[in-house]
């Protein structure tokens, strides 16, 4: 089990922090969002519920748009567009 970050296509990235608890998901998300360009989209996969609350707040604070939230069976798959 390791954190996975990869470029899927131009402007489309994937960050998988499944299996990690606080503070890993939110800190890795912040770090990755810092690397992306404006308009890039990140697909974020995680399974630590409390991290989701912080990530929503981060998006609100930074102006990033949460395009999609799929929360099934304890695995969260979110898509975030960088402002």
């Amino acid at each position: 089990m390791a954190v996975k970050f990869e470029k899927v296509s131009d402007g489309d990235y994937l960050l998988d922090v499944t299996g990690y608890v606080c503070p890993h998901p939110q800190m890795y998300t912040k770090k990755v969002m810092g690397k992306l360009e404006s308009g890039d989209v990140l697909t974020l996969i995680f399974d630590n519920p409390s991290s989701g609350e912080s990530i929503v707040a981060m998006c609100d604070s930074d102006g990033n748009e949460l395009l999609e939230r799929s929360d099934e069976s304890g695995t969260f798959r979110w898509r975030i567009r960088k402002a």
Binding site: G19, M27, V56, D60, R69, D71, G74
Partner: protein, 487 residues
């Protein structure tokens, strides 16, 4: 909320695909409810006095439910503020503090408060800092680790184990550590003329307790300010001045430093007026509805818990559960004063230390030749450890809601997470023992009862968490190396 997107969440009640029991989680959740209900009935059928212990279980269950509901972990109050600039949990924590301060004041007016002020000294900020450093790496505070254990997180269970055993070991260590203890502490401790079996002159924690802590004083703001009226002292002194005003000031600080900029940008406010700032603060409070609701409910629940235990003590004419255990014929594991740990309110770390000590005692390690276990808290069998059952209640309550919300998952920690859990948990245990409690016992329970020592603990915890976040960032950078896509 700006990011109020449509979600593809499975219906929380599990009804989308048929009847409620078609989802296993709901069935298991019902099993937990039945387990607690039947266990309670069985215990009461044995002896009605077990209600004293059951109150801890039931309130623990309630804490667990609301902690899971609001993702309420006080570690993130300081950690996420420094790590990702999110004040969500800090705000939730302050809401809980304000509500608990009001309910605690009411309990004091009713004359059944179980609260005892903490001694004021340097140990609070030092212990708080060590604790705050540890929580960054474990992923949760002591309570947060319990509720996350209820979500199936095995890493959080490791944290609980580490806190339990590390505390038990710390309070019994002597040997070369005796040489680090100031001579004045040793002299003062020995001069207290304690029972010989406690060997107070051997063991750093005994000398710290008897030679330093016992020489300190503490108190509640109502007494320190000389408010003689019970109502004025409890509500104006303890609640308003001791908890609500500091909480509101901290909220303004959080708004100014972590929320205002984003709020003004979202609502395109270029020259904000007072009304804009007030709306901004309200927006910050309501930004995470679940956290705010959890804070409100936990504050109310904590006060009700203190009231219920206080009333039971009045009813049974006891000061400590140990007296009741003796009457019921359970004398094993009590301290030499026939007492056990019995705070009468939300508390976490001491009962975990008792679990660790009980296990070590069963393994043949001498665990009672010290003040912490031998004189004060005892090491009762976990089956009759009332605050221990509150912790188990928290795990069960969180599991119950996580199962219903389809969020329960067994999560096996990676080597890195396990290492952080064990080392961080050991640091949390050390910090909690030095500060005489964790973020619940040394902060939440104190500031809400007019004991300002809790704000000092928070300052220490925040400082430790700030250093911890720097360390965690360094760790991430070190792991990433030079790879552009590595993180």
């Amino acid at each position: 909320m700006a990011n109020d997107v449509k979600t593809a969440t499975i219906d929380a009640a599990g009804l989308r695909n048929g009847v409620w029991y078609s989802h296993k989680g709901n069935v298991y959740a019902l099993g937990i409810v039945l387990l607690v209900a039947l266990g309670s009935v069985w215990a009461l059928a044995q002896d009605l006095r077990w209600i004293y212990l059951l109150v801890y279980v039931w309130f623990g269950l309630g804490y667990g439910i609301f902690l899971q509901y609001g993702r309420f972990c006080m570690a993130s109050a300081v950690r996420d503020l420094f790590a990702v600039g999110v004040p969500r949990m800090a705000v939730g924590m302050l809401i809980a503090v304000m509500l608990f301060s009001l309910t605690a004041a009411l309990v004091k007016v009713l004359g059944v408060s179980t609260f005892h002020p903490h001694p004021l000294g340097w140990h609070i900020i030092i212990g708080g800092a060590i604790f705050g450093f540890g929580i960054v790496f474990t992923g949760g505070c002591a309570t947060g680790s319990l509720y996350k254990s209820g979500e199936g997180n095995l890493g959080s269970m490791l944290v609980v184990l580490s806190i339990s055993f590390s505390q038990a070991i710390y309070v019994t260590l002597g040997g070369w550590l005796n040489k680090l203890v100031p001579a004045s502490w040793t002299q003062s401790a020995v001069a207290k003329d304690m029972p010989a079996e406690l060997t107070v002159g051997n063991g750093w924690f005994d000398q710290f307790t008897a030679g330093y802590i016992w020489d300190l004083t503490g108190g509640q703001l109502s007494d320190q300010l000389g408010f003689e009226g019970l109502f004025t002292g409890a509500f104006f002194g303890n609640a308003l001045l001791g908890a609500i005003v500091p909480s509101l000031l901290l909220m303004i600080y959080l708004y100014q430093t972590a929320y205002r900029k984003g709020y003004q940008r979202r609502f395109k406010i270029e020259t904000p007026r007072l009304g804009d700032h007030l709306r901004g603060i309200w927006s910050m409070v309501t930004a995470s509805r679940t956290t705010a609701i959890a804070g409100l409910c936990l504050g109310l629940l904590a006060g009700a818990h203190m009231w219920a235990t206080g009333e039971l003590r009045e009813h049974y004419g006891i000061f400590n559960f140990g007296e009741m255990l003796v009457d019921m014929g359970h004398t094993a594991g009590l301290s030499i004063q026939d007492t056990v740990f019995d705070p009468g309110y939300w508390y976490i770390t001491t009962q975990e230390a008792q679990w660790g000590a009980w296990a070590l005692d069963k393994a043949g390690v001498q665990m009672t030749d010290n003040i912490f276990f031998g004189l004060e808290n005892g090491i009762p069998n976990p089956l009759i450890n009332a605050p221990g059952w509150m912790s188990i209640g928290i795990i069960l309550g969180a599991a119950l809601l996580a199962l219903v919300r389809h969020e329960f998952r067994w999560k096996v920690p990676s080597l890195e997470t396990a290492m952080f859990a064990i080392i961080g948990g050991a640091l949390m245990g050390l910090g909690a023992r030095i500060a005489l409690g964790c973020n619940i016992g040394a902060f939440f329970a104190t500031v809400t009862n007019g004991d300002l020592s809790g704000w000092i603990f928070l300052a220490g915890m925040a400082a430790g968490a700030w250093v911890g976040v720097k360390g965690f960032n360094w760790w991430m950078e070190w792991r990433a190396g030079d790879d552009e896509l590595a993180i």
